[in-house]
């Protein structure tokens, strides 16, 4: 039986009504949050101290001013010639029914030169593992122990995306400015996930550090941004509550606040991200403190994360303008990230084909597994 939409539809109005109730206080909360933001802007450093003291020991993420006025809104600068590079990934986790434990990470890689030399690149790069020591992609620290773990594969995929962007940025920076884009957060957050073996996390932390170091070493012509569309983060709202505006709480997300602060195409001030988890992950990368700003693209409030070393005015200005240009003809989402996603995605058909290929190759090597009942039942689908 498929989803019974007649039953689904009659339940939806209730859900929507309950949501409306929950956001009824948003207007007053937004006004309170705006007042608090302007008050913070009057003395950002004093505000930072007050917020940090109030948030000490809490688990909630919060934000501190990184030098720009917290209530500021910045217009985009003019476009320049640059190359936009991006990577996105998709993966197949090991299937416990498979005769041989095996995973796939497929990374879509894009380089699009705008007014600069170099050929456009749209390419996908699949890696099948465990690759064994000395794997071509990973060197000697391939996290083969991650094979049985879905979380380990997700973390590996995040790291490989970052490595791909670092590789692309390094290879294109000789032609001029590079805008390097990632989808999601700057750091692979599963680096502190306890369900992933420590040895695997250590290996992937080292690879992450090397990729970030490589991006930094590429010099001031590289702008780096990790893009989160329709962000639900609440770091700034949490800071405002700590600053003395508890009535800001119903806002829920920073995006609701910055929708009032930012005009279309404007970016917010740059903030430093703070939280217990940020601290745990960030302390592994002392040279790459996470900052972020919000960017309004039409109705979308995107959060853009970047390392502190990339938060220089010229780099941020290029990143700001490039993101707007990229999103202009791509439904409000950066073109390079969209194409990287298209290249990376592994369809359900691809997944089935991979499972059969793995079975066939395993059988040729003498590894066969009797299909488990559930698996056999799913494949036959008879009445």
């Amino acid at each position: 039986m498929t989803l019974r939409f007649e039953l689904v539809a009659e339940q939806l109005p209730g859900v929507i009504a309950r949501y409306r109730e929950s956001v009824r206080g948003a207007e007053a909360a937004a006004e309170a949050a705006l007042r608090a933001l302007r008050s913070w802007a009057a003395d950002p450093e004093a505000g930072n101290q007050r917020i940090a003291a109030a948030m000490e020991g809490t688990a909630q993420p919060y934000a501190l001013s990184a030098g720009e006025s917290p209530s500021a809104a910045f217009d985009p600068p003019p476009s320049e010639p640059w190359t936009v590079v991006a990577a996105d990934g998709s993966s197949i986790s090991p299937d416990r029914f498979a005769p041989v434990p095996c995973w796939v990470v497929n990374v879509g890689m894009v380089a699009l030169p705008y007014g600069l030399p170099g050929e456009p690149l749209l390419e996908s790069r699949p890696t099948v593992g465990p690759t064994g020591a000395g794997g071509e992609e990973a060197g000697d620290d391939e996290p083969d122990d991650a094979a049985p773990s879905r979380g380990g594969i997700n973390l590996l995929r995040d790291v490989m995306e970052l490595e791909a962007v670092a590789e692309l940025a390094s290879s294109r920076v000789g032609h001029g400015a590079v805008i390097a884009l990632l989808d999601g957060t700057l750091f692979p957050w599963d680096l502190d996930a306890p369900q992933i073996p420590q040895a695997v996390r250590d290996q992937l932390r080292d690879r992450t550090a090397r990729a970030l170091d490589r991006l930094r070493a590429a010099g001031p012509r590289v702008s780096l941004g990790a893009y989160i569309s329709a962000s639900r983060a609440s770091d700034v709202v949490n800071s405002l509550r700590a600053f003395g505006a508890p009535e800001a709480e119903p806002l829920g997300a920073d995006a609701v606040l910055f929708a009032r602060v930012l005009g279309v195409g404007q970016r917010s001030a740059i903030f430093r991200a703070r939280s217990e988890r940020t601290r745990r992950v960030e302390q592994q990368f002392p040279a790459h403190e996470v900052c972020f700003f919000y960017l309004r693209i039409d109705d979308d409030l995107a959060r853009v994360e970047l390392p502190a070393w990339a938060a220089e005015p010229a780099r941020v200005a290029r990143l700001h303008r490039a993101l707007l240009d990229q999103a202009r003809h791509c439904g409000g989402y950066p073109r390079a990230l969209q194409e990287a996603h298209e290249l990376a995605v592994i369809s359900s058909r691809d997944r089935e084909q991979f499972a059969r290929l793995l079975e066939a190759e395993s059988a040729r090597a003498g590894f066969t597994t009797a299909l488990a009942g559930k698996q056999r039942s799913k494949r036959r689908r008879v009445v």
Binding site: V110, P113, Y114, G115, P120, A336
Partner: protein, 198 residues
């Protein structure tokens, strides 16, 4: 660069005895034109064919091309402003077989086997074209192919004539005689093709 002045080769992506489909790995502006005579030099024999259609469009049919571009921008301007587009498009060429060559010169007969998939497709040389088309010998296969309408046959005759240099008029007279023989029951069609061939 290939003979079509494109940096990447045209390759066969589907093939039968009577026709084959070719594709570039991206969008190109200078593919072989209608009526061009092509050769595939891989496999057990050289296969010759005539271009009956050229089309360009998205590789993924679920992602149609949007009419991007500002007023006043040319297609080249738009391509420069959106460098991803060319990579996501494909130019495809449909070719009808009109002869093959094994040990000797070209003969206007169907090949014994289709050309190999992914084989490179190149223009036939002027010598090959003259040998294949002299006396209008290649016309029966083309007239028998449902995909070869009058415009294709007229274009193929013009292509062949250009390789004969000063003897082009003689070639045209002989091809016209062969057409008259083949189309004696269709005088109106004969007239149409002859008008398109000169």
């Amino acid at each position: 660069m290939t003979a079509f002045e494109e940096p990447e080769p045209l390759r066969i992506v589907a093939a039968s005895l009577r026709a084959f489909d070719c594709s570039y790995p991206r969008y190109v502006e200078n593919p072989p034109p209608l009526g061009a005579i092509l050769a595939v030099r891989e496999g057990p024999c050289v296969v010759f064919g005539v271009v009956v259609n050229v089309e360009s469009g998205p590789e993924d049919p679920t992602r149609p091309l949007q009419p991007l571009g500002e007023p006043g921008q040319s297609a080249a301007d738009v391509m420069r402003a959106h460098p991803h587009i060319r990579q996501l498009l494909r130019t495809r060429v449909r070719v009808v077989a009109c002869g093959h060559a094994t040990d000797g010169g070209p003969v206007p007969l169907l090949p014994p086997l289709p050309p190999p998939l992914l084989a490179r497709v190149e223009p036939a040389t002027p010598e090959e074209t003259r040998a294949l088309t002299a006396g209008g010998r290649f016309l029966p296969l083309l007239l028998a192919a449902s995909e070869c309408d009058d415009a294709v046959i007229g274009a193929a005759i013009r292509t062949a004539r250009a390789t004969f240099g000063d003897d082009g008029r003689s070639f045209l007279v002989e091809a016209g005689k062969e057409l008259a023989r083949l189309l004696r029951a269709e005088p109106a069609r004969l007239t149409t093709i002859l008008r398109m061939a000169v």
